[in-house]
């Protein structure tokens, strides 16, 4: 399996993603600079977190015009697996690869702490290693994670089972106390209609080693590795 992690000017979780893929998962992983036009032929493309272009104007607004994003669009169009974490999620929305947008947290503050998210859809390339309904404990660290989309889009996301992660309490309940940023329908992560592009605000790469306190994010990388192995054989 081969993975690439895209580095935009201002990305700051690129190294973290690379480390987890390489060191924890043993995946052949390299960085790709945003000015490149060719992704090569990876099994997985990660758009990492950070502050591409300082998040000036809007998070992800400027980065989506980077040359590499055109290549990511083509790759996704062919069914390639794309994972956008935090700023990566914001870029995917701005680039139109995922619907909706991420606005400022309703607290108007940067929020950095562990949250609980429930796995809503087990049946994706990103989540098969989890149990349906499993509650994960994963850190967030963002100022603009308040997911919003028009009612029709939200309805479609729900109907099609494309809300993959939802903020909940530790017990897995919705409502008071779970949602850290005001996201519509407590949405923490969504997938595109074809099921190959996923964006989420929490950072699974920060919860993939015991020494850091939680390994709940590991399942996502395990799911991806298993998926890519199957895809290679097929």
């Amino acid at each position: 399996m081969r993975a690439v992690v895209v580095t935009f000017p201002g990305s700051n979780c690129d190294y973290d993603c690379l480390q987890v893929l390489r060191k924890v998962m043993g995946v052949d992983t390299r960085f790709i600079w945003h000015r490149e036009r060719d992704l090569g032929d990876p099994d997985l493309v990660v758009l990492p977190g950070g502050f591409s272009y300082g998040d000036y104007l809007r998070a992800g607004a400027i980065a989506r015009f980077s040359p590499i994003v055109e290549a990511v669009k083509r790759y996704a169009g062919r069914g390639g697996i794309v994972l956008g974490i935090c700023n990566g999620f914001q870029i995917l929305c701005e680039a139109g690869l995922l619907p909706g947008a991420l606005r400022r947290n309703n607290s108007l503050k940067f929020r950095s702490h562990d949250v609980h998210v429930r796995v809503e859809t087990k049946d994706t390339a990103f989540t098969r290693a989890y149990r349906a309904g499993q509650v994960l404990r994963i850190p967030i660290a963002h100022a603009e994670g308040n997911y919003i989309a028009d009612p029709a889009t939200l309805e479609r996301l729900e109907a099609e089972g494309r809300v993959v992660f939802r903020y909940t309490t530790r017990e897995g309940a919705r409502g008071e106390g779970g949602n850290p940023n005001g996201s519509a329908n407590d949405i923490a992560g969504i997938v595109n209609a074809a099921g190959n592009v996923l964006g989420l605000m929490p950072h699974p790469e920060r919860a993939a080693e015991g020494v850091l306190g939680s390994t709940d994010g590991l399942g996502m990388f395990e799911s991806l590795v298993a998926h890519c192995a199957r895809a290679r054989v097929a």
């Binding site: 104007l57 015009f65 947008a101 400022r104 108007l108 919003i148 005001g182």
Partner: protein, 92 residues
């Protein structure tokens, strides 16, 4: 060719929650300012632009908004050409 000062106002879509506007309204209230109704908080961009005519300047600014400056999912925009908006005089 002349230089125009383009003022672009980007505001949260009507009907969308505006937490920042709400927070400001609340803060004004608690500072004792009476009679404050709704507050909306948006962005103001002031762009110097060389163009052949005000119309051309406006057309280009519109394209900028559509492409980059406003997010169609969450924001509306309005463009004004030519006011010397670059130097708002500080009220004193």
């Amino acid at each position: 060719m002349s230089a125009y000062a383009i003022e672009i106002r980007v505001t949260p879509r009507r009907g969308l929650l505006d937490p920042q506007g709400k927070a400001i309204q609340h803060a004004l209230d608690s500072l004792g300012f009476a009679g404050v109704g709704e507050v909306r908080a948006g962005k103001l961009l002031v762009i110097e632009l060389d163009a052949d005519s005000p119309d051309e300047a406006a057309a280009r600014a519109t394209r900028m908004c559509e492409k980059l400056l406003a997010n169609p999912v969450t924001e509306d925009f309005a463009i004004e050409v030519g006011r010397n908006a670059g130097q708002p005089e500080a009220a004193t």
